[in-house]
Amino acid sequence: MLHCESLTKTYGSGGRELTVVKNISFSLEAGGFLAIVGPSGSGKTTLLGLLAGLDRPTSGSVTLDGAVLERLSEDARARLRGEKVGFVFQSFQLIPTLTALENVQVPLELRGIAARERATELLARVGLAGREHHYPAQLSGGEQQRVALARAFSNRPRVLFADEPTGNLDARTGATVVDLMGELNRDLGTTLVLVTHDPDLAGRARRTIRLADGEIVADSAA
């Protein structure tokens, strides 16, 4: 489902080069659940971005559901994301000007699919029935992240990328969100890739990759 080969990312800033991700290769099967852990600045988020095709690697390659990302144009990668990828962010990243329902609809509407019913259903599933017309600012952090989850799953993604999904939530709310993610992983067979600091959360993954200084220092199946 997800495969990367000799992935390297170097940022040049002010004449100095900084290699954030160094020569990383691994494969993840469909329906897998991978946690990427490591200290701050170890390159976790950069790796996630590269795997999701949000940026181009300096060298190496990423294959996502059979598509070789670096062969695709910027717009083609956008379309691929729209069809096969879901995202959950640490800071939720709901569009503040859209209601909860509209936020969930966006990925499907981008593809021209009427999505009202499915979005309503998904919101109910994450426990937000009746809150459809609330704006993000009117929801608590946990509720916002649940809307984000509903949005991430609205297009039935093959892969869900999550960047510190519980980072801004208290322990109980975080647990609810993680439970939901696990449920969706099981029920829909979605491949999960998450970046986290939280050992509890990492413990739920079936596989953990530990990064330090941009390199894999451990890769364990739980």
Partner: protein
């Protein structure tokens, strides 16, 4: 990406920030309002000209001459005028009433026959025009009654005749109000002209015959057939179509120029849109990155915001068009007295359509450039909050979009100016002005940084520092607000300097009363009478009427024909023709006067014996029109006698000085015996005494006319003010745009300023201090804009005075300070009004929101 989604997203996104977006697009509202108002007004004016065309002339044809009609012309009039013929004979004379005081130079028109054939002359009381020919009646301009302190029913003296004033003119078709500004009109029945005994030698008389053709007969072919023949008889023929064309062209030009001033307001609004969009995109960066993560393409995201700009532009423009229509209703009444006809105020749909389309186009085109950066926001930005944008590639579409922007400005200007060259020049002018204003503003900001007042109280320092907060719109606000102030200041400086020049020339020691048309034998008694009343008498200046017979041996008729042919080849009208054919009123003397400056050749010495040719001095501009250089031979026709001259020098003349100035000055010794009249200047301290003297002279020598320079100055001031008023009115829209752009900037930065002030309050700042910071910020912005504007306006004003008006430039410091202060106060008012919330809300309220 599918269009339905783009539309939906544009709507949802816009819905949430509607207030801010509306302010953004309100930037163009004032501009569209100005455009629609002026274009609609011009359309209506032209339609009115078309509808009322025949009444402009009051007849189908007119034949006029400054000489007595020749037998050939009279014969033609008898043939053409069988259906209807009327005559109007116009000359200058002094008028006074038995009861009132003073005397006034007027234009007397003796009317014979049922003129006007078309259109009505409205009088007060009604019906006075119809009664005019019943007896020795006079219908006069209302201004004359005021000037003479007279009333309807009084007896008016003109020369040897006496008339009963039976009414005043309320409205006259085809009257542009400029002629009556210099001399009030008096209409009398034609059969009483002789009784005035004023049409003796040397009187300038214009004779005009008005012809009504049988129904169905076309005027133009007749005019074309007889034009050349009439010209040979020193007569001119005009048709309704021609006067309509002239008026239409004049009004069209006026509309074009005012439209260009309106366009400035719109373009400044565009600048405001660009700046606000720039900030808007920055604030939307997160949303855009998320949309990109969710699969939106760069082009799709771009489309969403372009669609938003277009819709907002449409709303702003429609609002502007509505305001424009309302303004257009007020315009005619504001300048009605200057208009030759009744103007309807129906909304002009073409003007509205063009205005709205232009508004939308400006909104979109100016939003494009900042929106391009929306394409460059990578999806990764959603993941990495502190994403460094430095590494982003340059936008390849930048150059084409910049080109589109420039091309749009030129195209809009060309459309509004009515021709591409003016459009290009205008666009370049705006570009240069904006550039200079921007550089000036930048230098001012830099100098504030360089010499930052570190010792000032904290609130002032914070206010100044706020000018440079991230995402600030200081430049755009300074430009839009400054440009409006610059336009108004330049207009003011031009007007001030023009009028000041007139006032100075009327200084304490200069003559302020002019007597002219004095016959040679009257010079001594008139001078004695003036001196006897206790006023100084200048030396009499002789005036000899004449025409040009030949230049370098070629008759003027042949030269004129050549000039006309060449002009036709180039597709232009012949400007030099008038200089060749006109009557010159020349003088002779051996010295130069103060208002003259030699620019070529040498002045002749006095007292030398000279034969033919006579040394001649020409005014430089008229020499250029005639194509004459120093050394050329010219023969003049002085009342039928040829006088050979040689041009020995050229002069510049300062016409703004109210002195007898001349195109042609002859050396003494040649014209002394020619038929001539004299001008005598004097000075009397106040208007009442000047009026008294005018009246005494007019009563004793009816043919001697006079005018009070102060009256002429007032008339000129009124004229200048009227023109300036219209331009200033349009320029006000630019200032309004600046105010809206400022309000938009205040609104756009609302959230940022809320957080800043919440932080300040958390740290212990009082509301008063927060308010002071806000005041300092907007006072600085207002001063920046107005000082930059005034520097630029002073430059422009100087250039206008120096190159166009050729008068010395003065900078009125007190008024300058008022303008600068006013703009700053405007900025402070808008800034604080938009910041009430910032001061009012508690820090906790704000911090909980974030």
């Amino acid at each position: 990406m599918n269009p339905a989604f783009v539309a939906r997203m544009a709507w949802r996104e816009g819905r949430a920030s509607a207030r801010r977006l509306l302010l953004l697009t309100a930037s163009i509202t004032a501009g569209v309002a100005a455009l629609v108002a002026i274009n609609s007004f011009t359309d209506n004016l032209r339609r009115s000209v078309q509808e009322q065309a025949r009444s402009l002339l009051g007849a189908d044809l007119s034949i006029s001459s400054q000489k007595e009609f020749t037998p050939a012309v009279t014969a033609l009039l008898d043939t053409l005028g069988q259906t209807g013929l009327a005559r109007v004979t116009t000359f200058s004379a002094m008028a006074y009433t038995a009861a009132g005081s003073g005397a006034r130079l007027v234009q007397v028109s003796g009317v014979t026959g049922p003129w006007p054939f078309y259109g009505d002359i409205v009088t007060d009381p009604a019906g006075a025009w119809g009664e005019l020919s019943r007896g020795p009646h006079a219908v006069v301009d209302p201004s004359l009654l005021g000037a003479l302190g007279a009333a309807i029913g009084d007896t008016l003296a003109i020369g040897a005749a006496r008339f009963a004033i039976t009414g005043t003119i309320a409205r006259m078709p085809g009257d542009v109000g400029v002629r009556s500004a210099l001399g009030p009109r008096v209409f009398i029945p034609g059969r009483y002209i002789a009784a005035t005994r004023l049409l003796g030698f040397g009187a300038r008389v214009e004779r005009e015959a008005f012809i009504r053709l049988p129904v169905g007969e076309a005027a133009q072919p007749i005019a074309d057939r007889y034009r050349a023949r009439l010209r040979a008889e020193n007569a001119r023929i005009r048709t309704v179509a021609e006067s309509q064309q002239n008026l239409d062209n004049a009004l069209g030009r006026l509309g074009h120029y005012l439209g260009l001033v309106a366009l400035i307001a719109l373009l400044l609004g565009g600048l405001g849109v660009a700046s606000a969009t720039h900030v808007f995109v920055r604030q939307k960066a997160d949303t855009i990155a998320v949309l990109r993560c969710l699969g939106a393409t760069a082009g799709g995201v771009f489309a969403i915001y372009v669609a938003q700009a277009a819709v907002m532009g449409l709303i702003g423009s429609v609002l502007g068009a509505a305001i424009g229509i309302a303004v257009q209703h007020v315009l005619p009444s504001a300048i009605a007295s200057a208009l030759p006809l009744d103007v309807s105020t129906a909304p002009s749909w073409p003007a509205i359509g063009v205005g709205v389309a232009t508004g939308v186009w400006v909104a979109v085109v100016f939003a494009l450039l900042p929106l391009l950066s929306a394409r460059r926001i990578p999806p990764l930005a959603a993941l990495r909050q502190a994403y460094d944008p430095g590494g982003r590639p340059r936008e390849p579409l930048r150059i084409p979009v910049l080109f589109l922007l420039a091309a749009s400005v030129v195209a809009l200007a060309a459309m509004q100016a009515g021709n591409p060259r003016t459009g290009l020049a205008f666009a370049a002018g705006i570009g240069a002005s904006v550039g200079v204003l921007a550089i000036t503003a930048w230098l001012l900001i830099r100098s504030v940084e360089r010499w930052f007042p570190h010792t000032w109280p904290y609130v002032w320092r914070q206010g100044l520092a706020n000018l440079r907060r991230p995402g600030n719109q200081t430049t755009a606000v300074v430009l839009s607000l400054g440009f409006g102030a610059f336009l108004l200041a330049t207009l003011f400086l031009a007007q001030y300097n023009l009028l000041e020049e007139l006032r100075i020339t009327g200084g304490p020691s200069r003559p302020n009363l002019v007597f002219f048309d004095i016959q040679p034998e009257q010079v001594a008694p008139v001078s004695r009478a003036i001196a006897g009343a206790g006023y100084p008498v200048g030396s009499p200046v002789p005036i000899v009427p004449m025409r040009i017979r030949s230049i370098r041996g070629r008759p003027v008729a042949a030269i004129a024909a050549d000039t006309l042919a060449r002009a036709r080849q180039r597709g232009r009208s012949a400007g030099g023709g008038w200089a060749l054919r006109r009557e010159y009123r020349s003088t002779y003397r051996d010295t130069m006067v103060a208002s003259e400056k030699l620019v070529a050749g040498r002045w002749w010495g006095s007292g030398r014996t000279r034969g033919s040719p006579v040394p001649l001095s020409l005014e430089a501009d008229v020499a250029a029109d005639l194509g004459v250089r120093v050394g050329d031979a010219m023969v003049w026709d002085v009342q039928g006698v040829p006088v050979a001259t040689r041009v020995v020098n050229l002069r510049d003349v300062d016409w703004a000085r109210f002195e007898p100035n001349f195109f042609a000055v002859f050396a003494t010794g040649a014209l002394e015996t020619a038929p001539q009249s004299f001008v005598v200047l004097t000075r009397a301290p106040d208007a009442a005494r000047r009026g008294q003297l005018q009246r005494e002279i007019a009563q004793r020598w009816a043919n001697v006319t006079s005018f009070d320079i102060a009256v002429v100055q007032e008339a000129v001031e009124r004229l200048v003010s009227r023109v300036v008023l219209a331009i200033r009115f349009m320029a006000l829209f630019s200032l309004a745009t600046g105010a809206v752009v400022l309000a938009g900037a205040v609104s756009t930065s609302r959230f940022q300023r809320l957080r800043e002030s919440a932080l300040l309050k958390t740290l212990g700042a009082s509301r008063r201090q927060v308010l002071q910071v806000v005041l300092a910020e907007y006072l600085a912005i207002g001063l920046l804009a107005s000082v930059a504007a005034f520097i630029l306006a002073a430059l422009a004003g100087w250039a206008l005075a120096h190159f166009l008006f050729e008068i010395p430039f003065r900078l009125p410091l007190r008024q300058a300070a008022t303008l600068i202060g006013g703009t700053a106060v405007l900025a402070v008012l808008i800034g604080t009004w938009g910041s009430v919330e910032v001061v009012r809300r508690t820090p906790l309220e704000v911090l909980r929101e974030t």
